[in-house]
Symmetry: C2
Subunit: 211 residues, 2 copies
DNA sequence: GAAGTTACTAAGCGCTTGCTTAGAATGTGT
DNA sequence: ACACATTCTAAGCAAGCGCTTAGTAACTTC
């Protein structure tokens, strides 16, 4: 957690994320290069040489900063999933009115999947390349994300403000809408993330039968 | 096209798809093995030895029946996309009422993406591994599928039976719902393809604001 | 400016990859 | 049963893979 105050390896005190050692900066560059490569060609379609070269380093330098290629995927996947979980939980808690909260959840979820489509592609489509232990950990986070959305839909139904024959299926559909944006969204098109998010939030309210 | 009458290599006449030469059967087995492997581990995560072994053959046998590993992906992708295009066009043409046609489109689209989730995963998520020429050909089919659905939504709006602020976004959402089923659906769960399709068809009508 | 720590690279190891070659087994028509 | 086409395999090649080792360059500290 680079955002917290901690002692660096050389006895230097890292006060916040703005202050970075050279190693931290290089680690970050490698992660960024890995995200881009994994998103474009997939985990198995990417070589460690690709990643190192994109970060302006020799192939061996990757192993100075990371244990393995799989660890890169795990770090990307974990922080990506944690970001989405945080976002969903904050949006759910942002209003006592289920309709308002759902609009916010879908809006933010979609904006992230469009704006960070490179990361979200890796997050959603490269799970199979994770080690069994890492996959189990990631699945746990995914479960919490799905649960948060399902509970919100169920709360709306219970409160009588949503009307749907199967809240579980409605929640699955809402998730699908957002996740799939990461697949089809392209930068530089005429559709900006905010616009897509606004339209999708409206459709989300229709899906759950908001009154 | 094994469904059409044609002369086999040995001078034997292949009358229909039921009658197959040994080579045709082996070709099909290799394709089936490739679909399963590509769906589970991705194109680059699959070796030609994996595919050959799953088909009960030596690694070299693959190259008796197919030019390359990429050709296997292309054949799977092409027939999968053609199947979906046919299905969508038939569903669109099945009724003059946009709402009835849309219900049928989404229903059939979802059933296929659940029942054939192995194939549809390869179809939707392994595009980047295709050669540039093959990718261009596949993109053309995808464009026709998207176009057919978008035109149906627009026809409904024009006819006054659908009501949505942006038909193009609604069409994108409908596509997403179906495509993403291929990602999350698992065999042996408590959700059967027909049930998912029924719920999703209802949600589709809500998305487009059907009266 | 020497000593020590940190950040990096050149070279390459053992293995796997997609694919080929040369030939053996299998099936088929007469 | 013989000739011939078809279907398949054993063996292996060149290239590329993830990752390691041994050592050099670049900073920091005093």
């Amino acid at each position: 957690m680079p955002a917290e105050a901690q002692e660096g390896k050389g006895g230097r005190v890292v006060t916040d994320s703005a202050e970075q050692s050279r190693a931290d900066a290089t680690r970050a560059r490698l992660l960024e290069a890995a995200v881009t490569a994994f998103a474009e060609r997939g985990f198995h379609g990417t070589t460690t040489r690709d990643i190192a070269a994109a970060a302006g380093l020799s192939p061996a330098a990757l192993y100075v900063h990371h244990k393995s290629k799989e660890e890169l995927l795990y770090l990307i996947s974990r922080s990506g999933h944690e970001h989405v979980l945080r976002l969903v939980r904050e949006a759910v808690a942002s209003s006592a009115d289920p309709a308002t909260a759902l609009r916010r959840v879908v809006h933010d979820f979609v904006v992230t999947h469009a704006r960070d489509h490179t990361t979200t592609r890796v997050v959603n489509y490269e799970l199979a390349a994770l080690s069994p232990a890492h996959l189990a950990e990631i699945r746990e986070i995914r479960h919490r994300i799905e649960q948060a959305i399902r509970q919100l839909v169920e709360a709306g139904v219970t409160a009588g403000v949503f009307e749907t024959p199967d809240p579980r299926m409605a929640a699955a559909a809402l998730l699908s809408l957002g996740v799939d944006v990461g697949r089809w969204y392209r930068d530089g098109g005429d559709l900006v993330p905010e616009y897509i998010a606004a339209r999708y939030a409206e459709m989300a309210l229709r899906i759950v039968g908001a009154r």
